[in-house]
């Protein structure tokens, strides 16, 4: 079968980071449609619009102005319409406490922003592959935690 296109959203206030992320996703074999947002508020406003196709996975930067990643994560998990979406935190912080805190608040994936483009590509590819399995197989989504 032709694999269907994965809908992905990224909220990151750093323009360079958004561009690098888009390049990395475009370089993968997996078919994707990426929506970009410059902060958490823009993302949440979009997600709560009526009649949109919800993304299967959202990549969230933690430190953003207006509304940060942690606030978005909480809102997504508290919203029954959105809480089936996988959330990947995409951050420069490698503090164990930060990482644990995002998982406890319902994040599925934590990625330390890699410095090398090839590492970023590999990380995104792995996340999409694993996420795809959680969408299409009988795996327990409550226990879906992945740290890269």
């Amino acid at each position: 079968m032709a694999l269907h296109t994965l809908n992905i959203a990224l909220a990151d206030d750093d323009e360079d980071d958004r561009i690098v992320f888009k390049d990395a996703i475009d370089a993968l074999k997996i078919k994707t449609k990426l929506s970009l947002f410059v902060n958490g508020k823009e993302l949440m406003d979009y997600l709560t619009l009526p009649n949109i196709i919800l993304p299967e996975i959202i990549f969230l930067d933690l430190n953003m102005p207006v509304k940060n990643g942690m606030q978005c994560l909480r809102e997504i998990r508290e919203n029954t319409h959105l809480n089936a979406i996988s959330v990947a935190i995409y951050s420069t912080s490698s503090s164990e406490d930060d990482i644990e805190e995002t998982f406890i608040n319902g994040a599925n994936i934590y990625i330390n922003k890699p410095h090398k483009f090839s590492d970023l590509k590999a990380a995104i590819e792995r996340v999409l592959q694993v996420n795809w399995q959680y969408q299409t197989s009988i795996l327990n989504r409550d226990n879906f935690l992945l740290r890269i």
């Binding site: 998990r77 592959q129 009988i138 795996l139 327990n140 226990n143 935690l145 890269i148």
Partner: protein
């Protein structure tokens, strides 16, 4: 009051299938591994009616043959992993070839073409998924879990757990426990 439940997906699916198909007046044989042979159905009924009835329960009638085969591979893997005795006797490739009656090479090619991953990777993912549930239930020690899932040692299980999830079994357990305490919805 919060109670914790454990589900047997196989029993659940079978009960629902029988209940719904009987109600529709369909005669059938369940071949296992997600395959049903319809031997007769009332004139007024068609496949769409059946698909619609089952869809309510999240049961999907797969029209694409490749997808159907991939689903049967996944189901067979899940059953083998949960069957402690058989799992120790068989290796995955022989088991799949025998149960599904295709060569392992063929199954492996179809699987990789359709799922972005390999059968081997899926088996690891599935085993770790079972390990996670067992860790959360907290009734077995890690040593017992390793034995049940046919790992050669606890170290082997821990290494594969870390490689698959990026977390150690104990960190994983801590996170899930704190989530429950704060009642984070997922």
């Amino acid at each position: 009051m919060i109670i914790n439940l454990k589900f047997d997906i196989n029993i659940l699916s079978k009960k629902i299938l029988c209940q719904e198909l009987n109600a529709l007046g369909v005669t059938y044989m369940i071949h296992g591994f997600g395959e049903i042979e319809i031997t007769g159905m009332p004139k007024a009924l068609n496949m769409e009616n059946i698909a619609e009835k089952l869809g309510v329960y999240g049961i999907e009638v797969i029209s694409d043959q490749q997808m159907a085969l991939v689903q049967r591979i996944k189901d067979a893997i899940a059953i083998l992993i949960n069957d402690e005795n058989n799992y120790k006797k068989y290796n995955i490739s022989t088991y799949l070839a025998e149960t599904l009656d295709y060569s392992y090479d063929y199954l492996s090619t179809i699987f990789s073409e359709t799922t972005y991953t390999s059968i081997g990777n899926f088996v690891i993912l599935k085993k770790i998924d079972v390990a996670k549930s067992l860790i959360i239930e907290n009734e077995l020690t890690l040593t017992e879990i390793a034995f049940k899932l046919n790992y050669s040692s606890v170290a082997h299980l821990s290494t594969q757990f870390k490689k698959t999830t990026g977390l150690t079994p104990s960190t994983f357990q801590k996170i899930i426990r704190k989530r429950k305490e704060r009642q984070v919805m997922l």
